[in-house]
């Protein structure tokens, strides 16, 4: 018996039933593929935001700085070092940090001063794109500062308004100065939103009586997307760095755990989704076989062996899986490509929020990957024959007389 031809003929004998079953399988496949796209894109976006927003792929610090973020644990860095990094395929942004006191009218708050080089910072992070109101820092406007949205709210600070910064300078003296708020960031992370004031490195040095070649941190972005972070770290470490080189995983272990947790959560939800869809498929196959009791009775009466019945049903399941998979992929790929480019806009429902240092966008982008397409298809090709096995066994054990007469 040519099982492929015979099973295909069986399917075409009742087009309506076959089409309905195929649609059910295609919908299941489509949902699984799209769920994979979204999960992939969601996780990828969060990870990218977390790293690219402010951390960078690598950072360099004074050996004692990470354990004790002391103003005096800085690194003396010559400008030529940045050129060396650029030649090796790294973008680098020097940073300075200090704790200070910010005040607007009669409101005050403890904050972290963040001195940056706006031009270099834009090559390493994307924070300059996350301005809620106003504009980002400009090197030619040293008295302009950018603050987080939460801080702006708690101080009552507005664009164009005055901000007082007061702190203890590097020489121990009390120092203060007036600045103008030129920008307010969107939700980035709770630390940046509520406790950070960005100013240029030059303005920082002037306020803090800080050496012009000293920095607390160099954030590095690896320009080659195929270079692993661990390999990039080795390269930078071999370039006589002015301090200790760390990867983003070492700097943000909580983020690493969050992403691992997300992967496990997604895997768990995938499993549940697949199980639910498997139930749908099993039910579809079961009903399909039950409806053909008389047909199987005829086949058995004509001498078809029980194992041949089983193989026929399994082949039918494979045909259905194949057609369903083709239909699912045919719809999923273009739609997936669209949401990869344009995303799904939920801004009318939820704003962009920062939770635990992670930014959750209100526009969700998908990300197509080979695994996200093939995994559901493999699942379909495995599940459908297995799902059809029970009804196939049932059909193979039918009494031909009972099947034909219905008694």
């Amino acid at each position: 018996m040519n099982y492929a031809r015979q099973s295909l003929r069986n399917l075409t004998r009742n087009y309506r039933r076959t089409i309905i079953t195929t649609i059910g399988i295609a919908v299941a496949g489509f949902l699984m593929i799209m769920w994979g796209f979204f999960s992939n894109g969601f996780a990828d976006t969060m990870k990218r935001n977390a790293i690219a927003m402010s951390v960078g792929d690598l950072q360099i610090h004074h050996p004692k700085y990470r354990d004790d973020p002391n103003l005096f644990f800085s690194m003396a860095i010559a400008p030529s070092y940045f050129d060396k990094l650029t030649q090796k395929g790294f973008a680098a942004a020097p940073r300075r940090y200090a704790f200070a006191f910010a005040a607007v009218a009669d409101k005050s708050a403890g904050i972290e001063l963040r001195g940056i080089d706006p031009e270099r910072e834009a090559q390493v992070t994307i924070i300059h794109n996350h301005i809620h109101e106003g504009q980002w820092l400009q090197n030619n406007n040293p008295k302009g500062v950018v603050i987080g949205r939460g801080l702006a709210k708690s101080l009552g600070a507005k664009i164009g308004g005055e901000l007082i910064l007061m702190t203890q300078a590097a020489d121990g003296s009390l120092t203060s100065d007036l600045y103008t708020v030129i920008g307010i960031t969107r939700a980035v992370s709770s630390k940046i939103d509520n406790r950070s004031v960005f100013l240029t490195n030059d303005a920082f040095a002037q306020l803090m009586s800080f050496p012009s070649n000293a920095y607390h941190e160099i954030a590095i972005h690896v320009l080659d997307p195929n270079l692993k972070t661990s390999d990039a770290r080795l390269t930078v470490a071999n370039m006589e760095p002015p301090g200790e080189v760390s990867t983003w995983e070492e700097l943000q272990p909580i983020l690493v755990r969050i992403f691992a947790y997300m992967r496990y959560s997604f895997s768990f939800s995938f499993t549940l989704t697949y199980l639910a869809l498997a139930g749908l498929v099993i039910n579809t196959m079961f009903m399909g076989v039950l409806e053909r009791t008389r047909e199987f009775g005829v086949l058995l009466a004509l001498g078809t062996l029980p194992r041949q019945i089983i193989l026929l049903v399994i082949c039918e399941a494979l045909w259905l899986a194949l057609v369903g998979a083709i239909v699912a992929v045919a719809f999923a790929l273009p739609f997936g490509y669209y949401i990869q480019l344009n995303g799904l806009d939920f801004r009318a429902i939820t704003p962009q929020i920062a939770v635990g240092g992670l930014l959750i966008e209100s526009v969700w982008y998908g990300k197509i990957s080979f695994a996200q397409v093939t995994t559901p298809l493999v699942f379909l090709f495995l599940t459908l024959p297995i799902a059809s096995l029970i009804p196939a066994l049932k059909a193979s054990r039918l009494n031909p007389i009972t099947a034909l007469t219905g008694r």
Binding site: P69, F72, F99, F101, A103, D106, K107, S108, A109, G110, I111, E112, I164, M166, Q168, A170, D171, G172, S173, L174, T175, S176, D177, L178, N194, R195
Partner: protein, 278 residues
Amino acid sequence: MIFAFNQFCRSHYLAWTILYAIPSLALGQNGKPLPMKPSTSIISATPAISEVDINKTLDAIDQTWLGSSSKGKISMTIKTNEYTRKLSMDYWSKEKDKTLIRITSPAKEKGTATLKVGKDVYNYLPKIDRTVKVSSALMTGSWMGSHFTNDDLVKTSRLAEDYFAKVTQSKKTSSGEIWEMDLVPKPSTAVTWSKIHLTLNRSAVLPIRQVFHDEDGKPIRTVIFDQVKKLGGRDVPSVLTVTVNEKPGEFTELVYEDINFNSTVDGSFFSTVQLRKL
């Protein structure tokens, strides 16, 4: 936010005696008082030292630098592992809840002033001609870059009223009777110390040393009172030095150069407007 600022000021803890030593500035720190032993009264370690005697002595210690109003000159030397700086200041005070302190040197910081009225603390910044109010969240921040906190200026606590006191040792020396005492905060006293070990000269009724212990009983801060002089008609320790165990080699030293007790200072003097006029 408090944590971040505390990191900056993590070695700048409360030194209640220092602020208490600046008339009308009192020491204390926000925090939950620890569960106390069910002592209901001051316990004397030796039968010969009565509760009344201990009370009177502590009350006298509390009054060492107090007057209904006063003014004077102090200098403060702050030494850290990174720098050493010296400030000269004028101060005015009225009762316990009004204080105004103004830096007179060095030139870079001249005119910077701190005003305390009740629980509010303000800083005047002459360079930008602005007065800022220190929010409650920043009270644990460093005052003037020293090892004191803004909260030290606000809180008032008195040994005689806010602590259970026990004399653990009494000895007679050539300079007088010396008491070693353990002071444990009462449940209602809002400080984070579990204990203050006080050494005082009972005969002169002057403090010699205080050691502050944290919640685990570990000593974290020491204040030494030295160089007794007659200032404003009273014998007072003119030099107070606070050291922090966590930061060996660092200290803040306060020197009283002049005190005028019971000087005439009007209450209206203590205002934010006055900060700018000085």
